[in-house]
Symmetry: C2
Subunit: 431 residues, 2 copies
């Protein structure tokens, strides 16, 4: 499976799918044509914004129970941003999903019956908001939400809940889309943002026949779209590695090899200019610098599937090759996810350590960031900096991949670029 991501329990607030009182009829047909120049610039001035502020954690999500695996895979293989199957997406996608479901159900069963990603996402968002209420009183109160791409709570349900809770739908208000992928890929953060923009259009679009868009009272969105080398992120990874190194006898510790493992991408995505591989490398470099470059290391790539070429070297092959050469003290570091999920609990722990390394005691995995308080402080720091910056999204996010042909991406990026322009106008006006 391309992106095997786990489940969880839900933030009640974000999953309740009671019809939103201020629900606005979908008007996505226009959007679907990719008429992206229609994308409305939102009149957002985040410098002057007041609370409450919705803090929306975006991730792929994962099935909380094995019963949800079928739906999860159906949505995953229907997503052309993640797995581009062309015109036949709606036919081939469900077929592959059905075919893979029994195997994936077994894998989730082996890691306890579901993914903990929802539990951790909800915990991280809630704890971060508590800190933010203290450190950013001008945007308080901060309300935590979770929006998953392929599992509950879905983006659609999160958006309806926002409206139920009094955001948008004529009442305005401010929300921050905070990607939980530290490194940006069109397959992950890009896909979540495209989905958010879709539901924003459907639920708050109010398009006029002239092509003008009246978004008065709609939610003002801004995005934390990447944070590959935030010092708090780097510190958490480094501390987890240092902790794991202590499990080796002192005389072996110096020669332990660090294997930073990230989800791979198909070469077709890499070659169209996806920024993810370079940003993952930036995280790896920053962590190694923090560790004083004292250990041998490699950045390796996991979770390749299917016959098409993916970016390597592969995690699995690397572990096997190194062990063959006599290197049996290896620490695996999942460097592109912040919570445990099937890629850590099944792929790394059971397949790579259990099978490839035959359970060798020298091959270990660092803890995922999960509920680590240093990590949650980092999230709060990122959010506070963003809220006070007046920036709608990073400059980098507004550049489509050179080889991109996706109308969804164009529409979504124009929306966020529009926010930046609007924001700039507001700031200039205020100056």
């Amino acid at each position: 499976m391309a992106m095997r991501i786990p489940i969880a329990r839900a933030v009640k607030r974000a999953t309740s799918s009671s019809p939103a009182t201020s629900f606005i009829p979908p008007c996505a047909s226009r959007w679907r044509r990719g008429n992206a120049t229609m994308a409305p610039p939102v009149t957002q001035n985040s410098v002057g914004s007041k609370g409450p502020t919705a803090m929306v954690f975006m991730n792929m999500g994962g099935p909380s129970t094995t019963d949800e695996v079928g739906d999860f895979l159906s949505r995953l293989f229907a997503d052309g941003d993640l797995i581009p199957l062309g015109r036949l997406q709606n036919y081939i996608g469900p077929y592959i999903a059905r075919r893979r479901t029994p195997k994936i159900i077994k894998q989730y069963a082996e890691i306890g019956g579901g993914s903990p990603i929802r539990k951790w996402s909800e915990y991280q968002a809630a704890e971060m908001c508590k800190i933010l209420d203290q450190t950013s009183p001008e945007t308080a109160p901060h309300k935590p939400y979770v929006a998953f791409r392929y599992a509950d709570p879905l983006t659609e349900d999160m958006y309806k809940q926002l409206i139920t809770d009094g955001f948008g739908g004529g009442k305005g208000g401010r929300a921050v889309a905070f990607t939980q992928y530290p490194q940006y890929s069109c397959s992950t953060t890009g896909s979540s943002l495209n989905e958010l923009w879709k539901w924003r259009s459907r639920l708050e679009g109010k398009r006029a026949t002239t092509g003008e868009v009246d978004q008065e009272g709609a939610i003002q969105w801004s995005v934390i779209d990447r944070w590959p080398t935030h010092p708090g992120l780097v510190e958490t990874f480094a501390q987890n590695i240092e902790k794991k190194l202590l499990e080796y006898p002192k005389e072996r510790r110096h020669d332990v090899i660090l294997l930073y493992s990230a989800h791979s991408l198909p070469m077709s995505v890499v070659n169209r200019g996806d920024p993810y591989p370079a940003e993952v490398a930036a995280t790896v470099h920053a962590v190694n610098e923090r560790l004083g470059q004292k250990h041998q290391y490699r950045l390796v790539w996991q979770s390749q599937v299917g016959p098409q070429p993916w970016l390597g070297a592969q995690t699995s092959n690397t572990v096997k090759s190194l062990m063959k050469k006599g290197h049996t003290d290896l620490i695996l570091i999942p460097i592109a996810f912040t919570s445990d999920h099937i890629e850590t609990l099944y792929e790394l722990d059971k397949e790579v350590i259990g099978e490839d390394a035959k359970g060798h005691e020298g091959v270990k995995r660092v803890d995922s960031l999960n509920g680590n308080p240093v990590f949650i402080e980092a999230l709060a720091d990122l959010a506070k900096t963003h809220l006070s910056s007046g920036i709608a999204c990073s400059k980098q996010m507004t550049l489509r991949c050179p080889g991109c042909t996706s109308e969804r991406c164009l529409a979504s990026k124009e929306f966020f670029a529009g926010q930046s322009l609007q924001l700039k106008t507001d700031l200039t006006g205020a100056a």
Copy 2:
């Protein structure tokens, strides 16, 4: 051509190929069998070393005149580290080289009849040594040398000159191999080090029949093997970009896209775990951070040849795609070379800017680092830090790529790892 690198004039000192007085007969047959456990640990204690110190700049080099193109290409296609052609290397290599020579001669003719890489390398090494004599008096005097992999001055000639000049050959002395590739690849720095180790073995090996190696009086080598995010390197790139941005009208400047272009690698090299792509990405990230992340950017890859898959996105395609989308303000930044050479002067300037961008005034290239004094200060800082560190090479360099099967790499790395061990022993003994 896989690596199209330029010419220059020569450092007289390093090119004079008069027979070395203390020349020791080659004994490479053993080495050729890859019996790498034979590699002698050098009794080096760089902390306690005194001058003179030989500072050897390693690079691929390039033909200084069009007459040298044939020899240059012959050596390049004979190098299995760079272009692995298997058992038929000695047959296919010369054939490809001969076939490509006329085309490459034309390219060098178009950039003035040769590559300036030798001129710049000699200048950089000499200027750096002047600074080092001031900042590191304990290892002074510092004597500059240049060793190219495929053009004059060749590694072999440089080594013989070292011996002529009184280094090694029974007299001991200290030399630093300083790669002029900021980011490590087995195809570039790795190949140069393998070559250095080969000539070190041949000229100073004195192997005994027991398998013991007597290297008393041999040169003590240490290596500066990578420096992808040295602050001075990052600063020079950033200043050059800022300078180039000033050439755009103020109202366009903010939206200029930065395209960091590095020499690509075949996917077979990437997939065996070559560290280069991740280190190039680290440089790009550091430069963008220094620039305040104010510009859209991409890391792109140039100089792909032949039918096998290479790492992308390609520089040429990226420029064409972006221009098609209306982005015509683009700055090309050669991020993995420090001097001008055929990849900048011909590929970027003539092919990408001249042909792909049809000479559009918005598409520009930053100056190469060449004789930039900020860059030369950076080189001196790197060298001084290395000389006072007592480190023989980076920890990372001693790890072979997980998919590596090269006996040359094994032997070379064991040699340098041996130096580290020896150094550690010396330090412990001295403590």
